[in-house]
């Protein structure tokens, strides 16, 4: 019977006010986690033995990279759901997530380059990890471009969904690239099979920042989804009521 409850929110009409009520909470949580995370990152976490203060860029770089991959999976999930079931909300959610995902991928590439120059001695190399993350960024841009190029939202959703689903192949490639091939990028510090090879307070700062990025992404995606709902359903009765 729970299922029916969930399906109720699958229509834009009832999801619109729900999202509106949730957004302030996510913004508040994003601010709290962000302040706590930055405080730990700058004042509590110790200096790294090898890299000095420069390592502190990981507090933005790693959460941004995680989000760029995770948002893509969520976006592809919504897109796939829309393609399979033809639900209206799915396509809107996928469209709402894409710009935030692109932002995260860009942030990850940019902070990585800033760290790479002093530490590695280069802004960029064409190694498997860096290249596959760049492809992820292009997938986001391609998805946004393809969706905006088609006027009919239902056809735009379909075309975008196929692109998004095909691009899913790239996600395990990004994640495992440092294991499968010789890369300049180091292996993962945090993984599921063993304890993280990082000082406790550094890890705490990174996890707090990751939570802040999560909350920010949800808040922004919901805000964008609300705007898309109004735009796409502007001829319906509920939108007229919602805007009044």
């Amino acid at each position: 019977m729970n299922l029916i409850q969930w399906f109720r929110f699958a229509s834009p009409q009832s999801f619109y006010p729900l999202a509106g009520r949730m957004i302030p909470w996510f913004w508040t949580l994003a601010a709290l986690f962000g302040i706590a995370g930055l405080w730990v990152a700058f004042f509590v976490a110790p200096t790294d033995a090898q890299q000095g203060e420069g390592y502190r860029i990981i507090f933005v770089h790693v959460p941004a990279s995680w989000m760029s991959m995770f948002i893509y999976m969520v976006m592809a999930f919504w897109a796939g759901l829309g393609l399979a079931l033809g639900t209206r909300l799915s396509g809107m959610m996928a469209q709402a997530l894409a710009p935030t995902g692109a932002l995260m991928a860009a942030l990850s590439l940019w902070t990585g380059a800033l760290w790479g120059k002093p530490m590695w001695g280069t802004w960029w190399v064409w190694d498997a990890r860096l290249t596959s993350e760049l492809i992820l960024f292009f997938l986001y841009i391609g998805f946004i471009a393809l969706q905006s190029a088609i006027d009919d939202p239902r056809r735009a959703d379909k075309a975008g969904a196929i692109l998004a689903l095909v691009g899913v192949v790239n996600i395990p490639i990004i994640y495992f690239s440092v294991k499968w091939w010789n890369t300049l990028h180091q292996g993962s510090t945090i993984n599921l099979t063993r304890a993280p090879s990082m000082a406790q307070t550094m890890l705490l700062g990174m996890l707090l920042m990751a939570l802040a990025f999560w909350m920010y992404s949800i808040a922004v995606a919901l805000t964008r989804a609300r705007a898309i709902m109004l735009e796409r359903e502007r001829h319906t009765e509920w939108v007229k009521h919602a805007v009044d």
């Binding site: 110790p46 200096t47 790294d48 033995a49 090898q50 890299q51 000095g52 420069g54 390592y55 990981i58 796939g80 393609l83 399979a84 079931l85 033809g86 002093p118 530490m119 590695w120 001695g121 280069t122 190399v125 064409w126 190694d127 498997a128 689903l165 095909v166 899913v168 192949v169 490639i173 499968w180 091939w181 010789n182 890369t183 300049l184 180091q186 292996g187 993962s188 510090t189 090879s197 990082m198 000082a199 550094m202």
Partner: protein
Amino acid sequence: MKPRTKRIALIAGGLASLGIAATFVLKALDSNIALYITPSEVVAGKAPQGNAFRVGGLVKPGSIQRQDMATHFIVTDTVKEIPVTYTGILPDLFREGKGAIVQGRMGADGTFVASEVLAKHDENYMPPEAKHAIEQAQKAQQKGMSQ
């Protein structure tokens, strides 16, 4: 079959075949995706003849020698060693016992002449005190073993 079930099956089948295709392509490209080769591979003759390539490994401890602007060091994968010379500025993380990737050509005398040196960082992040403690422990262990 209901059209919806058919559509889901079609999407699932499409994704599965795409995944398999991607796996084969990546397997075929394997050696081309690698950013560098190891000293063992160079010794085994896998380096492209006459072309520039990258070698990656550890900078052998005690092997760095500076001569004016040039730096001589040995890159090793603990099995084989390649002597390298490089003229220029080295990155911050270039250290003895740490990973490095050198790009250049093999000289006639078996010395690798590098045009670019990149330092490879490992996945460990720790404060200086922790690093000091680990080094002390390793020294104590070595002493115990040699006695």
